[in-house]
Amino acid sequence: MAFDVKTITCLTVICTLCFRLEAQGQILSDGTPSKDLQEVTVTSDRTTNPHSVSVSKKADAALLRATSTLQVSDVLKYMSGATVKDYGGIGGLKTVSVRGLGAQHTAVAYDGIIITDNQTGQIDLGKFSGSQAQSVSMTSGPDNDMLQPAALAAQAAVISVSSKRPEIGESKARSKGELKYGSFRTVSALAESDFKAGRLGTATVQGEWLDTRGDYPYTQENSASSRQMRRTNSDVSRLRVEGALFSSIGENSSLTTRIYWFQSAQGLPANILYNENAARERLWNSNGFMQSTLTTAFTDRLTMRLSAKYGTTYTRYLDPKVNSSTGKTDNRYTEREGYLSGVALYRLADRLTASAGIDTRLSALDGNGADQAHPTRLTLNSTAAIKYASDRIIITGRLNHVFTKEKTRLRQAAESYNHLSPTAGLNWLVWPKAGLHLRASVSNTLRLPTFNDLYFEQIGRRDLRPERATVTSAGIVLENESRGWFWSFYADAYNSNVKDRIMAVPGKNTALWMMKNIGSVITHGLETGLETGYTLGPVHPHLMLSYTYQRSMDKSDSGSSTWNHQLPYTPRHSASAVAWAENSIVNAGINLLYSGEYFCNGYNGPEYYMPSYYEIGCSLWRDFNINGSTVTLKAECINLTDKRYELVRNYPMPGRQLRLTATVEL
């Protein structure tokens, strides 16, 4: 009744904005001079890094394969602590949040440099292809890396996608071609080439095209009248081309330059309303950038890393049938960004390192609507850190600062943000023989209001404060290896507290929404994982288990109906298992996902209950050597039991899918 006329536009736009995401990437040289390596990272092939002060997990090529990762979001579902919100299908938005902090607290980095979307603050991890990633890692809390750029160091959690690097040893070049065919007419083709570019160094180019109709069947639950239906308007077409050049300058410097282009056209999966099934919204994206990173070790003690980037992102959203006077909604946005980053690391003493860095970013958003604010934001992230690292103890301390200056063409710009946020971490190898580490960290991080939060049509509010998150975490890591068996275990308990959450709340009516700093959330949680494997013998079995407990309580208003209720889309219990075995006959993998029950609304009433679900998948693959080339054939079955479920209410997930992949490597 009091359902105002404005509702539909507003809500549609809010929903739409969730999809207005970018898939841009950046690269960073990992050509850190070897002198410094012992300082910077202790790399491990395992999923867990035992030396990290925070929970840090890494999925390498084997895990990406065993989890049938087509999109980077697929593998993240198997990592403890990651809550993936998935609107279903290839084109459905996929975001990741950790520790009850909200997806905007999770930064995404491509090759170690942050990817930003100043408009929505959310990055769609579904837009990253599994083929472009050498590995995917996730760190919740402070990182050990002293050369981490300031913008990333200031984030509560970082998902880092590392790109493919040239894999040429003696040979002059290496080429790879791959074809995939899967259910719901999903086709993808990939071509990749690594080659020596004379004195310039080595280069890699990769191109990938994906096209799907995505019209998977689903069950529309409706009491005793449930119906079998098919997704419509769920087609996706994507093209990605990128090339990178890796050069060495003198003995102590390395330079990486990358050019990247991504383009997509897709339908947007619609909310499955009863009786009305007219999915018709379309989305177009293009994203291009160029960037360079120079790493120089000046002396034994001083190392510097400089990065520069320029990129643009174009988004067009179209709803061709709207009951407004224009008859449609056609929003076009262009976001341009220039970025400069510098970090210097100085070894003060044998075990003591200090670093300082500054990131400067200039972002401008233009849109086609008459109501657009056309904001430009200058962000200065600076950071100073100190680290003590002995054989058994690592202690880090860091102070981050963010400063913004904002300008708008229309309406008043937001005030400058000027905030300090510290982090600290400890990793102590208590019992070297058993490989037992204790670790603890505390971090205070910010999530700045996005352009939408501040300026979007009527709902934006320019006086928003940043969200502030404080996380304390402590845990143990055990890692051991003997006679071909290795195993690792970790368990970390944490407590997080988010204050001044930025949320869209109804104003005087459900129709009139407005952004507000409202309320806080306290989360207690546990993230644990076990990994084991056997490397000797003809069969190499590998098992990875993880379990997450999350109790995220709404602590906004003790008088409200949602007081102490669990955050929406946050199961208290979730678990995963991945097992695979490599051998000479055929490699096989199996994966299992489980999510406990949760609610799709901050009010945990029965109307908003989402039942628990599980999903099982499996894969088989084998390499063949033919005349010096390697041919790999792979068959995967995703959602083997054809489990019908929704992760986001009214956005069904696909049922059973098959996928065949053929790869030729020359």
């Binding site: 009491s223 009248s225 459900t510």
Partner: protein, 640 residues
């Protein structure tokens, strides 16, 4: 003592309000209200969650129906009875005649329920060119209900046929509709253009169903209410995000001259009124119920509630005009289930129903008895028809409506619709003389002792539109009605009063509203007269040819006029739609089948039936005589 009771009661209220089950909490012994049997409360649910619900409060039992859905997620009478849910954002409803019409905005449908059982008898999808119309509000007058939709239209629904018969354009995003002085008033909000809303009220003449005027009002008109003489419309203006509020006005429109006579500066969103007094509330949480003198435009009571009862967020209001009781819906915080409050005319809480649904928005009084039965699965198809081979109606006033023709339909889809009608007990029309339908039986009906089959129509003695029956046996066992046909000899053929093989041809008229001319094989001619009650094309729209010819048995004229009353005399026996269903002479015996020469066919069994209108007749009041046919039953259980 009283105070203690109060504390106890509050404690009880607190505990119960956590219970998701709807509970009626009495503060007074009386729940009933006048002659009403109860009230329906519609809840729109949360946007895009498909969770609109309908609640029923029975005044006789003083209880709220609290059937729980199998998934345990909702308390919904609609789901209980229909085995499905209403859909998304049920925005309005009206009880009119014997039906309850529910407007489901985001699902873009009108669900029509039988008011006594709440069974959905029809769902009308509302869309144009694949664009959901988003129906918003509903009102009724005469034989029609009227729905305004966000796509800038008003649709008229025939309450007899339960079909949307016409749609006309009005202003942008209409968001309120009411009837006054033989006219419809529609508030054109234009709210989907936030900074450029509409600012008009459309006036529609009910007789011609055409828009006659647009009255200029302030921007973004919404709720509209009529007291018969005047129309009151709330104009919301443009929302001030700085103040976080609307600056609303209430316009008074004189329904005689259709001009704005007065504008009151009142913080109003929605109202209900009786006897010159409006009970209203403004936007948002914490809104109080206030009273307004509609004559003077003065607030006469700034807080109607006198006993300290707090309503978190008023979301719907109704005043019972006789008892003066005021019913208010409370949406609480929009996500938790809301409540219904019933106040005495003095503003004291009489009772409260908690957990009535999420965002309850509409209250409707019910005067008929309501019996709710739990959905027991899809109903078994009625009767003995399982195929419709041919549906060939002659032109007629119900043609293209029964069954409903929709763009793109052809002979096959129309036949399928007929099958659905046969199996659900709905009527189909055969149009004027000669129109016929050919059906296949679920199993062979044998010629046993006594009557063998029954064909339902809508006749009673004195209102007969007789159809001649033909039967056929599947002699070649190919399942198709390509065997020999035999006529069922009714009383008129037997008495020699009928004409065999009479041929008639009809021509498609140039315009929808024109009469449909016919000529007969004996040189007679005439027209199927177009009448005002049914404005659609009478010529079957899926026929490709512009002329159509039928041959059949012509029965004697049965229309007579006695003292200004038209009587359509029933024949003695042997015809469809001739006598009251299931009375002895309305039933059929296979024994009556005859060869073309009139000798008994001595059929053992039949597999196909054809029914053909046997009369040419037209009267000015009720239009042409057109046989209506419904379910066919096998009366011989043994032959099943």
């Amino acid at each position: 003592m009283r105070k203690v009771n109060h504390i106890l009661l509050s404690a009880l209220l607190l505990t119960l309000s956590c219970d998701p089950e709807p509970v009626l909490l009495k503060h007074s012994e009386i729940v009933a209200d006048g002659d009403h049997t109860g009230i329906f409360v519609l809840s729109e649910g949360l946007f895009n969650r498909n969770n609109s619900t309908l609640a029923w409060i029975d005044f006789e039992t003083g209880a709220v129906d609290s059937w729980k859905s199998p998934t345990g997620t909702s308390y919904d009478c609609f789901e209980k009875v229909n085995g499905r849910r209403l859909g998304d954002t049920a925005n309005d409803m009206i009880l009119y005649g014997s039906h309850l019409y529910i407007v489901v905005s985001e699902s873009s449908t009108i669900d029509i329920l039988d008011a006594t059982t709440l069974k959905s008898v029809k769902q009308i999808p509302m869309s144009r060119d694949g664009r959901p119309s988003e129906p918003r509000r509903i009102t009724a007058s005469g034989d029609y209900v009227y729905v305004c939709s966000f796509d800038g239209t008003v649709t008229r629904i025939d309450t007899l046929l339960l079909t949307a018969d016409r749609t006309i354009n009005v202003g942008r995003n209409p968001d309120g509709i009411c009837v006054a002085n033989g006219k419809l008033y529609v508030s054109n909000s234009g709210g989907l253009d936030f900074n450029n809303p509409d600012c008009t009220v459309s006036v529609i003449d009910l007789n011609s169903f055409t828009e006659t005027k647009r009255i200029e009002v302030r921007q973004n008109p919404g709720s509209i209410y009529s007291d018969g003489k005047n129309v009151f419309v709330v104009s919301r203006g443009i929302y001030d995000y700085g103040k976080n509020d609307y600056d609303t006005r209430l316009h008074k429109i004189d329904a005689e001259n259709d001009v704005v006579t007065e504008t009151f500066n009142i913080p109003i969103l929605t109202m209900d009124a009786h006897d010159g007094i409006a009970w209203f509330y403004g936007y948002g949480p914490g809104g109080t119920i206030q009273m307004l003198d509609l004559e003077r435009g003065e607030i006469i009571n700034s807080d109607f509630i006198t006993d300290g009862t707090r309503i978190q967020c008023p979301y719907g209001i109704r005043v019972e005009p006789r008892s003066g009781k005021v019913y208010v819906c409370d949406a609480a915080d929009y996500v938790t289930p809301g409540s219904l409050f019933c106040f005495s005319p003095e503003g004291r809480l009489l009772y409260k129903v908690t957990n009535i649904g999420i965002n309850p928005n509409t209250i409707t009084f019910c005067d008929n008895k309501v019996t709710l039965r739990r959905y027991a699965g899809k109903p078994e198809p009625k009767g003995h028809v399982d195929r419709v081979f041919e549906y060939m109606p002659a032109p007629g006033q119900f043609v293209n409506l029964m069954p409903q023709y929709e763009e793109g339909d052809d002979a096959q889809t129309m036949a399928q619709k007929c099958l659905e009608a046969f199996q659900s007990g709905e009527m189909i029309t055969l149009g004027a003389f000669g129109g016929y339908v050919t059906v296949g039986l679920r199993s062979t009906i044998h010629n046993l002792e006594g009557k063998d089959f029954r064909i339902d129509g809508n006749a009673f003695n004195g209102s007969s539109e007789p159809g001649v029956v033909w039967v056929s046996s599947d002699e070649n066992h190919n399942g198709l009605p390509d065997d020999k046909w035999y006529e069922i000899e009714g009383s008129e053929q037997k008495a020699g009063r009928s004409v065999a093989d009479y041929t008639i041809s009809y021509t498609r008229p140039a315009h929808e509203d024109d009469h449909t001319p016919w000529t007969g094989s004996d040189g007679r001619s005439g027209s199927v007269l177009h009448n005002k009650s049914h404005s659609q094309y009478y010529y079957p729209l899926w026929y490709e040819s512009d002329a159509v010819e039928f041959t059949g048995t012509l029965l004697p004229d049965n229309i007579t006029q006695e003292n200004d009353i038209w009587i359509m005399k029933s024949f003695e026996y042997g015809y469809v739609d001739n006598l009251t269903n299931n009375t002895e002479n309305a039933l059929f015996d296979i024994e009556w089948a005859v060869n073309p020469d009139g000798t008994p066919a001595n059929l053992e069994s039949i597999d196909f039936i054809r029914i053909q209108n046997g009369v040419i007749g037209c009267n000015e009041r009720t239009g042409e005589l057109s046989t209506e046919v419904s379910t066919i039953y096998n009366l011989n259980p043994k032959s099943e």
